[in-house]
C-alpha cells in the first residue's frame, strides 16, 4: 500500500467531498462520464472479507466511484454527477475543513484564480433591507400593473439641460443651431458585458438572439453590450448591430475588425462603452485563460493562444480630463458623433470625483456612467481580487446621483448600476430600488448565465469559469461542453426572464403610482436599518 506524506494534497484539503453510496450505485458510469473536471473516476477497490476459520482472510474486488485528489482535477461541487445519477448515489458536499487555497499557493507559488463571483458573504445585502413603502393610497391612484400603459424607457446618451440647448428664434420658429448629442431611449436593463471567449460562442449568440427577439418581436428596446472581446463581423454588418453596445477595454480586442467593417455597416451600433474597470476585480484588467482562447477567439482578438491579460488601465489615458478629451472624443468620432459613448468603472470610493469631473465635460460627449459593484461576476480573476477588492454598488450609485442633484444636474449623464443584481432572487426588485436611488438603468451579465443554465452560486458552487471546463457549456470553448448548451433554450429563457421582469417592474411602478421610470424617487423607499437610512437618505421606519 502506498504511504502517505503529510504535505501531500489530501482529500480532506479539498473544498468539496464527493459522498458516494456504493449500495445505491449501479455502476452505469454516467457520473464519471458527465464530470467535466475529471474529479471522479471508477476504480476497483480491494475489500477484505473477514476470515471465518483458520484460513487467511480473502479479498473481494469492488468497482466503486472515487474522488480524484489533485490540483488539476478536484471537485468544484457543480453537481453534474448528482444530476445524471439514476439512483441518487452520489453528491458533492462542502468540506468545512477546506484548505485548498493554502495548499495551492504553497505548492504552486502562484495566486489562486477562479471564475464566478465573490464568495465572501458579508452580513446581507443592502438592497434586501430596503422595501418599497410609499404606496399610492387615496393620495393618488395606484396604477394597474397588468393593464396600465407604462413607459419604461430610459435615455442612454448625454442629456443637455434646457439652458444648454442651442435654440434660437428663426422667423418665429425655434431652431437648433448645432447638433444635439446622440441619445437613445432604451430599456432600463442592459444585458451582456461578457466577452467572446469568456463565454462560449453559443452563449454569446444566445444573448444576441434574445436581444434581437426582444426588440423585434416583443417591442422591448433592450440593448446588449459586447464585452471586451470584439464582435463577429456578421453581426456588425447586419441590421441587428443597432441593438449592440460595442465595448472598448484596455486590451482593445476586436477593434481591428470593427474598424475594417465600418464602410460596410448599414446601421450604427446602439452605443459604445469604454470599460475602465469591472466590479468583480476592480483595478485589474480582463483575464482570459489560454484554455478558452479558441481559434476563432484568436482571430477576432488578433492574438495567439495564451493567457490574455488586459492591462489594468487604458495605456494612453492618465487622468479623467484626458480620458474625456481623448477617449470620449475618439469614440464619438468613430461613428461621426452619431453614437452615444458611455464609460464603465468599478464602484470605488473615488467614483463621485470621477462623476463630478465627467459632469463638467465641456464637449457634451459623455453619454453615460456605468458603475459596477463588487458583487459582480467574472470569467476569471485572481481570488484575492474577487474576494477582497471592490465597493458595493448601492451607496456609490446613490452618492453619484446626489452629487449631481446638489448641482441641479441629475440626469445629464445617465447613471447605470450593476453588480450582483438578482443575487437573492428578485432582479426586478433590485433594479427598481436602484432606479429609485437614482439609476437611469441597470446592467447584468451573471443573471443571464444563470438563466441560461449556469449552476454556480455565491457560496462556492462550481465557480470554475476560468478553467474552460464549464459543465453547462457556458464558460468554455470546448466542443463537447459547449454543445451541452441549447442555444434556443438559452435564448428563450433570457427572453422569458426579461418578460417576467417587465411584469414585475410594472408591479412595483403601479403601487408607487409612476407611469414612467421612478428615477431618483427615493421617497418610495424605506428601511428598518438606521444606518442605511442615514447613508442613503431614505426614510427610516420601524
Amino acid at each position: 500500500m502506498e504511504a502517505v506524506k503529510i504535505n501531500q494534497l489530501h482529500l480532506d484539503d479539498l473544498p468539496w467531498i464527493v459522498e458516494y453510496d456504493e449500495n445505491k450505485c449501479i455502476q452505469c458510469g454516467r457520473c464519471t462520464a458527465a464530470c467535466s473536471f475529471g474529479a471522479i473516476k471508477p476504480v476497483v477497490e480491494k475489500r477484505r472479507k473477514p476470515s471465518t476459520g483458520l484460513q487467511k482472510p480473502a479479498f473481494d474486488r469492488l468497482l466503486v466511484i472515487k474522488q480524484n485528489v489533485s490540483f488539476e482535477h478536484h471537485c468544484r461541487g457543480c453537481g453534474m454527477c448528482t444530476r445524471v445519477c439514476p439512483n441518487g448515489a452520489i453528491k458533492a458536499v462542502r468540506n468545512p475543513n477546506d484548505k485548498y487555497s493554502v495548499r495551492y499557493r504553497a505548492a504552486k507559488a502562484d495566486s489562486v484564480k477562479k471564475g464566478g463571483r465573490s464568495n465572501l458573504n458579508t452580513e446581507g445585502r443592502t438592497l434586501d433591507k430596503i422595501k418599497i413603502g410609499r404606496i399610492s393610497q387615496m393620495t393618488d391612484p395606484s396604477l394597474d400593473a397588468a393593464r396600465h400603459q407604462f413607459e419604461l424607457r430610459t435615455p442612454f446618451g448625454r442629456v443637455l439641460s434646457a439652458d444648454k440647448l442651442s435654440l434660437h428664434n428663426v422667423n418665429g420658429k425655434m431652431e437648433l443651431s448645432s447638433q444635439l448629442p446622440p441619445n437613445r431611449w432604451i430599456y432600463p436593463i442592459i444585458m451582456g458585458d461578457m466577452s467572446i471567449g469568456a463565454v462560449s460562442w453559443r452563449m454569446w449568440e444566445a444573448m444576441a438572439i434574445a436581444t434581437a427577439y426582444l426588440n423585434e418581436v416583443m417591442g422591448m428596446p433592450v440593448r446588449m453590450c459586447t464585452g471586451e472581446g470584439g464582435i463577429p463581423v456578421r453581426l456588425l454588418k447586419s441590421r441587428y448591430v443597432k441593438y449592440m453596445i460595442l465595448q472598448i477595454a484596455s486590451g482593445h480586442f476586436g477593434w481591428n475588425r470593427i474598424i475594417q467593417s465600418m464602410p460596410e455597416m448599414t446601421e450604427d451600433p446602439a452605443g459604445i462603452l469604454i470599460k475602465i474597470g469591472q466590479g468583480a476585480k476592480p483595478g485589474d484588467g480582463g483575464l482570459l485563460m489560454a484554455s478558452k482562447v479558441a481559434k476563432y477567439v484568436q482571430e477576432i482578438r488578433g492574438v495567439p493562444r495564451a493567457d490574455l491579460l488586459s492591462p489594468p488601465t487604458h495605456q494612453g489615458l492618465y487622468s479623467i480630463e484626458e480620458s474625456v478629451q481623448k477617449m470620449f472624443l475618439s469614440m464619438n468620432a468613430a461613428f461621426n458623433f452619431r453614437v452615444p459613448v458611455a464609460i464603465k468603472t468599478a464602484a470605488s470610493v473615488t467614483s463621485v470625483s470621477v462623476y463630478n469631473n465627467l459632469l463638467r465635460d465641456p464637449y457634451n460627449i459623455v453619454g453615460g456612467f456605468f458603475l459596477d459593484g463588487l458583487a459582480a461576476g467574472t470569467g476569471a480573476a485572481h481570488e484575492i481580487s474577487l474576494n477582497h477588492t471592490g465597493h458595493p454598488i448601492t451607496s456609490k450609485l446613490r452618492d453619484c446621483y446626489l452629487a449631481a442633484v446638489h448641482q441641479g444636474r441629475q440626469g445629464e449623464i445617465p447613471l447605470f448600476a450593476g453588480g450582483g443584481l438578482g443575487q437573492t432572487g428578485s432582479f426586478a426588485a433590485d433594479a427598481f430600488k436602484l432606479i429609485c436611488l437614482g439609476a437611469n438603468g441597470v446592467f447584468t451579465g451573471r443573471m443571464l448565465l444563470e438563466i441560461a443554465g449556469c449552476i454556480g452560486n455565491e457560496t462556492g458552487k462550481c465557480n470554475a469559469c476560468n478553467t474552460g471546463l464549464c459543465p453547462a457549456g457556458i464558460a468554455t470553448q470546448d466542443l463537447c461542453l459547449t454543445k451541452r448548451l441549447d442555444i434556443d433554450v438559452a435564448a428563450q429563457n433570457i427572453v422569458n426572464y426579461f418578460i417576467a421582469n417587465d411584469i414585475e417592474l410594472k408591479k412595483l411602478m403601479g403601487p408607487v403610482g409612476n407611469s414612467t421610470l421612478p428615477i431618483g424617487r427615493s421617497d418610495a423607499l424605506i428601511t428598518v436599518d438606521k444606518h442605511i437610512s442615514n447613508r442613503l437618505d431614505i426614510q427610516y421606519i420601524c
Binding site: I26, Q27, C28, G29, R30, T32, A33, A34, C35, S36, G38, K41, P42, V43, V44, L63, M80, R83, V84, D144, A146, R147, Q149, W201, R202, E205, A208, I209, A210, A212, Y213, E216, V217, M218, P232, V233, R234, L235, S238, Y240, A294, K295, Y296, E299, Q477, D478, L479, C480, L481, T482, K483, R484, L485, D486, I487, D488, A491, Q492, V495
Partner: protein
C-alpha cells in the same frame, strides 16, 4: 296611489336644496304613494336611485333637468328616468334594473358597474364609460346604448352585459371607443359602428351574425324612439358598418413566434460565428456519446490477455472484440472509464476529448 306628478324645484330664492333634503323629500312622497316626479335639479346626486314604488308592480317615473352626478345610481327595475339635457359623471352607476335615458351627453364613467336595466344616451359619453359592467345570470343583462361615441379607457374590466356604440356624428374622431378601450375586459359584448382603434389585446373583433343583427334591429328601434331620433333608423341599420367586440376565451395568449423559429427564419443565416464555426446547433445530452464525450477510452494491445473483463463490465455494451482486437462503438460509449478501471493489465486509457469546433 297618487297619479299627480310631483314637481320639485330645488333652487328657491337662490337657496339650493341639498342632496339629502331632495332625496328624503322624494322618499317621503313615494311613501305617500306618488310615483311620478318632475325635478328641476341643481346638481344633486343620486336622483332616481335606490327607490321603489310603495305599491308592488307600480313604476316610478323621474323627469329630471340639470342633475348632479350618479343619476339613477343603484336604481331598481320599475324605475324610469328621463334626463332632459346632459348629465355629469356616473350615470347609472351600479344600475340594477332601471331604464335611464339621457337626452344629451353623459360625463365620465357612465354605466359604471351597471348590472341590469338599460341606459340610453343620445349624445357622447365620457372616459371610462361602461367600465366594470357585469351580468348576473339570474337577471337580464344590462344594456348601454350610446348614439355617438365614448371617451378613452371605455369598457375597462367589463365582465358582462351589452353595450352599443352607434358612432353617429363622429366625423373627425379617430376612434369612437376612445383610446385603450376594453383593457381587462373578461365578459360581455360591445357592438360598435364606425372607426375605432387601440383596443386591448385581450379582446377579439368579430363580424356580426344573424342573432346580433336581430338584436340590433329591435334594440335600435326601441333606443331611437326613447331618444326621439327614429329618423336615424335607416342610416344606423347598414350592418356592414358594425363590428362586435368580445373578450378572447380565458387563458388565450397572443401567439408569438418562438425564439427557435426566430433564429431559424429571421436571424443571420448560419449564425453570427458562421464564418468560423460550422455549428449544427444540436445539443448533447448527459451523458453523451461520440464527440460529446469529455474523455475517450483508447485500447493498447501490448499486455492484453484477452480476459474479456472490460467487455463484461462496460455499462453501455460499447466494447467490441474482433480477432482479439478491442475497440469501442462510438455511438454507444459514454467515456465513463470503467474499462480502464477494471482492466487488470492497464490496456485501456482514457484520453481527453477536449477539442475546438471547426
Amino acid at each position: 296611489m297618487n297619479k299627480e306628478t310631483v314637481k320639485i324645484k330645488t333652487l328657491i330664492d337662490n337657496k339650493r336644496m341639498s342632496t339629502q333634503e331632495l332625496l328624503q323629500l322624494i322618499t317621503s312622497k313615494i311613501n305617500d304613494g306618488y310615483t311620478d316626479f318632475d325635478i328641476e335639479a341643481c346638481g344633486q346626486h343620486n336622483i332616481g336611485g335606490s327607490s321603489w314604488a310603495k305599491e308592488n308592480g307600480e313604476e316610478l317615473n323621474f323627469k329630471i333637468t340639470n342633475p348632479g352626478q350618479r343619476v339613477g345610481a343603484m336604481a331598481l327595475k320599475g324605475t324610469k328616468i328621463y334626463v332632459e339635457g346632459s348629465a355629469p359623471a356616473d350615470v347609472g352607476w351600479l344600475n340594477s334594473g332601471a331604464q335611464i335615458t339621457v337626452n344629451g351627453d353623459c360625463g365620465d364613467t357612465a354605466s359604471h358597474c351597471a348590472a341590469g336595466g338599460k341606459i340610453y344616451v343620445s349624445g357622447r359619453v365620457g372616459t371610462r364609460s361602461g367600465a366594470l359592467m357585469k351580468h348576473d345570470p339570474k337577471f337580464e343583462p344590462p344594456e348601454f346604448w350610446v348614439l355617438k361615441n365614448t371617451g378613452s379607457f371605455s369598457f375597462e374590466f367589463m365582465g358582462g352585459g351589452i353595450a352599443v356604440i352607434c358612432g353617429f356624428d363622429c366625423g373627425g374622431i379617430d376612434s369612437v371607443l376612445g383610446n385603450r378601450s376594453c383593457v381587462g375586459m373578461v365578459g360581455g359584448t360591445i357592438y360598435v359602428r364606425g372607426t375605432f382603434s387601440g383596443v386591448a389585446s385581450c379582446v377579439e373583433i368579430k363580424s356580426l351574425n344573424e342573432e346580433d343583427i336581430n338584436f340590433l334591429r329591435n334594440g335600435l328601434l326601441e333606443f331611437l324612439i326613447a331618444i326621439n331620433k327614429s329618423g336615424l333608423y335607416d342610416s344606423l341599420t347598414d350592418f356592414s358598418q358594425w363590428k362586435k367586440i368580445e373578450p378572447l376565451p380565458a387563458g388565450t395568449k397572443e401567439k408569438k413566434i418562438s425564439v427557435s423559429e426566430f433564429r431559424q427564419t429571421k436571424w443571420i443565416e448560419g449564425g453570427i460565428f458562421g464564418d468560423f464555426i460550422q455549428d449544427d446547433f444540436k445539443v448533447y445530452p448527459l451523458p453523451a456519446t461520440g464527440d460529446g464525450r469529455v474523455r475517450i477510452p483508447e485500447w493498447n494491445k501490448t499486455d492484453c490477455v484477452n480476459c474479456g473483463i472490460c467487455l463484461n463490465n462496460c455499462p453501455e455494451n460499447a466494447i467490441m472484440e474482433t480477432d482479439k482486437i478491442y475497440s469501442t462503438d462510438n455511438n454507444k460509449c459514454i467515456g465513463c472509464g470503467i474499462c480502464e478501471a477494471v482492466c487488470p493489465k492497464l490496456c485501456w486509457a482514457l484520453k481527453s476529448n477536449r477539442k475546438e469546433i471547426s
